[in-house]
Symmetry: C2
Subunit: 65 residues, 2 copies
DNA sequence: TGCTTTTGTAATTTATATATTACATTAACT
DNA sequence: AGTTAATGTAATATATAAATTACAAAAGCA
């Protein structure tokens, strides 16, 4: 479940805490998703993508290991 | 949670049962996702997209109501 | 008209995403 | 060195995705 959330979030100078608040989840959830050991729901993926100004594909589609 | 799964699946002449088997879930799960009343996990969305030869964006991103 | 396949849907159970609480670690800064 | 912000991570609880079983309703076809 690798993805581009962490690198994209850092580029926007946003903390895990800030992204968590904007997407309605906890900091821990964001941390686990970034770590790639998590299988988030579609709604959460969409919320994250919109906050980071990306699409689903850009963050979650065929991300190289 | 509207999406383009149903219309895409029908275009490929695949039944819910067949798509379910290929993606490792039950027919009911596919049915509920197509109905839009469900919030599937990212892994399942990816599995469905690959079976239908589409990307996440094409099936789940900004689908008009 | 029947028969079969496909789909809709409900009720209950199980698995797992996410929350909560908590503490440790790291990095940046003074 | 000390302090604070940010992150990693673990243990337990809660919410919900998905399975299971079951039956009904369409839809296609003989």
């Amino acid at each position: 479940m690798k993805n581009n959330v962490k690198i994209t979030r850092i580029k926007t100078s946003m903390t895990q805490q800030q992204l968590a608040k904007k997407t309605g989840v906890t900091r821990q959830t964001i941390g686990l998703i970034e770590k790639g050991e998590y299988n988030p729901t579609l709604q959460l993926c969409i919320a994250i993508a919109k906050e980071l100004d990306k699409t689903l594909d850009e963050l979650f589609w065929e991300v190289e290991e």
